[in-house]
Amino acid sequence: MHGLINKAIQSFIRDSYGMASWLAVAREAGLGFENFEPMMSYDLDVTERTLNAAVTVLGRPRITLMEDMGTYIASHKNTQQVRRLLRFGGVDFNDFLHSLDEMPDRTRLALPELELPELELRQESPGQFVLRCRSRIEGAGHVLLGLLRATADDYGALVYLEHRGTDTGADMISINLLESSFADGQPFDLGARGAR
């Protein structure tokens, strides 16, 4: 698993539950170190152990942690760069949804080693979509759910999102886009690279 993913898990736990909690998770997972290197590669098992340790140490169900992590990635002040990269997907939430199909390709363009979940968006009727998410990490669909919620907020869109369980190993998320521009949302300045 790419270090960026593991590092994101680490940052999420540290920024949401505090440094002591993260260190406890690292110990519980038997990592043997305190910091993931975002530009190195780790066995999938390491990611799995970290997530399991987080469930044990933080005493929260895995799907809750996963969803919170998705929200964190797309909205926390320490992950502003990721938020910006997501916003490049489209000018409004509808546009953004359609860009999800190409997100893995887009990501590969920037960082060929980074393996993101396979995403497939299907439009069922106007404003009604189903997103299939397939990943080697169990519960990745819940991360996506949190990420979509936060991104919809960021765009100021009114959306109803629901995890619909799994289908042949893929997480199914139903997306009901009620209004693309419901609230003002956060501004996105194409040229504001200073948002680091």
Binding site: V82, L111, G191, R193
Partner: protein, 404 residues
């Protein structure tokens, strides 16, 4: 080329296509290719009026050379950075993004070659020169903003003497977006400018992480190297570090001195007072030796109670002798350890590089060792210098150090 395009976004029939005027559409095909098309027509925009729009999207079938009639809004959406230039060289109209670049300065009626200068090719000075460059790639600069560069293309407008100039920011797009606060809608939906901006930001994020990784690796490497060259008990250099320093000095060709120091009665301290006391003595010796050396010198612990000092750029026997005797004197002072006092002293053997035609580390160490042995044999607590004639000259007469 003859395959009809299937729109993925925006609908399949003409009516829905017409409703998609000005929005971004994608193209699909049956069977759906594993990697969707992302270039050229695949990422299309539809421009009105409807007749020509159909020809644009299903455009590969077009056989007639009939001029395409576009209204200004459609032209502006297709090419937000275009200008229409009259026969006399003045700007007749332009796309919306061009307007943003010039802000309050009205561009209509201004000579095109006054608003922009052509950097390449270099021989375009009038509008007629520009006309001869039809179809070629041009490099332009915005007048008054020498850093705002463009790529451009000039084509004649059919059945008129007007010229259509289309511009692109090229790789300067990143700066242009910041400088003019451009947004997604300032680019044609077919333009890959946004993708370029995305890549630039993604690259920056990755570079930041890589630089961080490099810094951490550099730090870890330095620490590992330091540890590999350090004696952990005393913090002095170890045998490996000594060998490296020896090699450097021998290679440099400047004179240097070697002091081989062995503690007297250290075993007794260790045996009677324990290792902790012995360790404290060794640390105190290290402090003394470090204080008797400069940064450029090397102090190494090479055995249990054996030390070697390399003095760089030091050849004068008198100076070496004074230092050696001072060390003997200072190391003879008792060392406090908890409630007890440890008594040791030091014997020193000295060799200087100038004794040798070509100083060899092994030879110098062996000779210094002989001098050290002579010091021990003569009663310890003294320093002796190895001489080229093989004698072991006692050092210390001039400092008045009493030899026991």
């Amino acid at each position: 080329m003859g395959n009809p395009l299937i729109l993925v976004r925006g609908g399949r029939d003409d009516a829905r296509l017409r409703r998609s005027v000005g929005t971004r559409i994608g193209r699909g095909g049956k069977p759906v290719p594993a990697v969707p098309f992302r270039a050229g027509n695949a990422y299309g925009a539809v421009a009105g009026p409807p007749r020509s729009c159909r020809k644009t999207v299903h455009g590969m079938k077009t056989t007639s050379h009939k001029a395409v009639d576009l209204d200004a809004a459609s032209l502006g959406r297709l090419m937000p950075l275009h200008l229409v230039v009259a026969a006399d060289g003045t700007v007749l109209s332009h796309g919306p993004t061009v307007g943003k670049l010039f802000g309050q300065d009205p561009l209509i009626g201004r000579p095109f070659l006054d608003a922009f200068s052509i950097r390449r090719p270099g021989d375009v000075s009038g509008i007629e020169d520009l006309r001869t460059r039809t179809g070629q790639r041009l490099f332009l600069v915005q007048s008054g903003s020498p850093h705002q560069t463009f790529r451009g293309l000039v084509v004649p407008i059919a059945a008129s003497d007007r010229l259509l100039v289309n511009l692109s920011f090229g790789i300067g797009v990143v700066e242009a977006v910041s400088a003019h606060h451009l947004t997604d809608s300032d680019f044609a939906p077919t333009d890959l400018a946004i993708e370029l901006l995305y890549l630039v930001e993604a690259k920056q994020l990755i570079m930041t992480e890589l630089n961080g990784l490099n810094r951490r690796l550099e730090g870890a490497k330095n620490t590992a190297e330091e540890q590999a060259l350090t004696d952990t008990l005393t913090g002095l250099r170890n045998r490996r570090a000594l060998d490296l320093a020896f090699g450097r000095l021998a290679g440099a060709g400047t004179p240097f001195a070697l002091l081989h120091i062995d503690l007297d009665f250290f075993k007794e301290v260790n045996d009677s007072l324990g290792h902790a006391a012995g360790d404290e003595v060794l640390r105190e010796v290290a402090r003394v030796l470090t204080s008797e050396t400069r940064k450029s010198d090397t102090v190494a612990r090479v055995g249990g109670d054996e030390f070697v000092i390399l003095y760089a750029d030091l050849a004068e026997i008198g100076a070496i002798s004074r230092i050696a005797n001072r060390i003997v004197e200072r190391l003879s002072k008792p060392v406090r350890f908890e409630d007890t006092t440890c008594h040791v002293s030091a014997s020193i053997g000295i060799a200087v590089s100038e004794t040798y035609a070509r100083p060899d580390p092994e030879q110098m160490l062996a000779d210094a060792d002989q001098a050290l042995y002579a010091s021990k044999k003569a009663g310890r607590r003294q320093a002796r210098l190895f001489r080229s004639d093989g004698s072991m000259e006692l050092q210390g007469a001039e400092t008045g150090l009493r030899v026991d």
